[in-house]
């Protein structure tokens, strides 16, 4: 491909829609043409922004909390470097050298003590600030979830589903509110601890297509109301919690723990 890339092809390339040969020819040309490389880069950013065509969805607060926990864990301990005081010693004050020596040792010990205390205090303050930020974030998330739950309850077409334990399975209760038109799911409830190397996974089972994973639970926990967003317009047949290998699966594979059918017409 020696001619310049058609702007439409740049868009298709960025979209990932070009097939093998077309894509290879375009890539070969772009490697040797700065002008087309720039056009393809522009197309790439333009096409990436198509994601904005979907309404933004706030991720659960736990994602940010986990991110910040990991960032703190990775942080290299800060090294406090204090510039060593340089003492000019002229010949006239040589007799003071032992006095300076003792004073310097005492000063250094005091400085070290103060520095260590400061460092401890700073670390503690930093930890407390981090904890406060987590609490504030969680409070806001709970308040927002409560608002979203109220909003969802007030919307026509919202289905209320109570997931009941299947015979012989461990107890647990999960309630779900679902509005297909808005693509919003709110769930809350309690699940027991999953067996070793297992997780429990909450699914939306649509009328058509594959189940959609909503949440993986590893520990026994009470879940405050949380809202998730799924592609709008997906009619739900049921919601279910299944037992899966630890960390969850892309599609359900294990036994059902809880199941709740969606009454059609809701």
């Amino acid at each position: 491909m020696n001619r310049h890339v058609n702007p439409e092809d740049s868009d298709l390339y960025a979209l990932g829609a070009l097939d093998g040969t077309e894509m290879q020819e375009l890539e070969a040309h772009v490697r040797s043409c700065a002008e087309c490389a720039r056009a393809v880069d522009e197309a790439r950013q333009r096409v990436a922004l198509l994601a904005l065509a979907a309404p933004a969805v706030a991720p659960p607060a736990r994602v940010k909390e986990a991110l910040l926990r990991q960032v703190r864990a990775e942080r290299v301990p800060e090294v406090h470097r204090s510039g060593a005081a340089k003492v000019e010693r002229g010949p006239r004050f040589l007799w003071l050298t032992p006095v300076f020596g003792v004073a310097a040792v005492i000063f250094a010990a005091l400085a070290a003590g103060i520095w260590m205390k400061d460092a401890r205090d700073n670390r503690r303050i930093h930890e407390l600030e981090g904890q406060l930020a987590v609490v504030e974030t969680r409070s806001l998330e709970i308040a927002r979830a409560a608002d979203e739950t109220d909003r969802l309850l007030g919307m026509p077409g919202t289905a209320k589903v109570a997931l009941e334990p299947m015979p012989g399975m461990p107890a647990g209760r999960v309630g779900v509110l679902y509005n297909a038109k808005m693509g919003m799911v709110t769930y809350a409830g309690w699940l027991p601890a999953a067996p070793p190397k297992k997780s429990y996974q909450l699914w939306l089972v649509p009328m058509k297509g594959d189940p959609v994973s909503l949440r993986v639970f590893s520990r026994g926990e009470w879940t405050e109301p949380e809202t998730m967003h799924v592609p709008p317009g997906m009619a739900a047949k049921a919601f279910a919690v299944t037992e899966e290998p630890e960390g969850g699966m892309p599609a359900p594979t294990g036994p059902k723990l809880l199941v709740g059918g969606v009454s059609q017409g809701e």
């Binding site: 868009d11 065509a53 940010k64 998730m228």
Partner: protein, 195 residues
């Protein structure tokens, strides 16, 4: 007086991240996590997986912020491109280390700025315009673009999925992209100097 972090530009937040300021990372997360999470859930159809990719993405930003050149790149576009690549790779069943390697290939400096997406109001406005444009597309054009963007399908794969000749699919995708491009062209006219 120091400006609240919500009002600080991406480039300044990146500088703070490089200096180890986790509050700056949190501010960028607050700014862009919503749009990214919506895209990731749509691609992966699995909220847990989307959460994992989202967290990885910002962790990569924390570790590699020094590679960001604000004069040549847009943080929003970088996050969306890398996020989409990762999600599609995951959808295709690639191992995690392969996905990370793939997304590293895309240089942050290679993404020109699309407009002032750092500003909440401007971002909301562009979202509104794009949503309107997508909704106005003929359904078969919208379907073709969505299959390519959110499911990573080539035109041949789309033709097989929808049961249409390849030429028809090509026409649909091209027509849709022309319409959507107009939205971006209008946006760049509104924000001179940003594109």
């Amino acid at each position: 007086m120091t400006a609240p972090l919500q009002q600080v530009e991406d480039s300044s937040l990146v500088e703070r991240i490089m200096a180890g300021d986790e509050n700056a990372l949190a501010a960028l997360y607050d700014r862009y996590a919503g749009m990214l999470f919506a895209m990731l859930v749509r691609i992966l159809r699995d909220a847990s997986a989307a959460e994992e990719v989202l967290q990885d993405l910002f962790l990569q930003l924390w570790r590699g912020a020094s590679r960001f050149d604000a004069s040549r790149g847009s943080m929003a576009a970088w996050l969306l491109v890398i996020g989409r690549n990762r999600a599609l790779s995951r959808l295709r069943g690639k191992a995690r280390h392969e996905i990370l390697a793939d997304s590293e290939e895309f240089s942050i400096e290679a993404v020109p700025s699309p407009g002032n997406l750092e500003n909440d109001a401007a971002r909301a406005q562009l979202m509104q315009r794009l949503q309107g444009a997508m909704a106005a597309l003929p359904s078969e054009q919208r379907e073709a673009v969505e299959l390519a963007y959110f499911e990573g399908m080539t035109q041949t794969e789309i033709a097989a999925r929808v049961g249409c000749p390849l030429g028809t699919v090509k026409s649909r995708v091209r027509a849709a992209m022309q319409t959507l491009k107009q939205v971006f062209d209008d946006e760049s006219t509104r924000q001179p100097g940003r594109l």
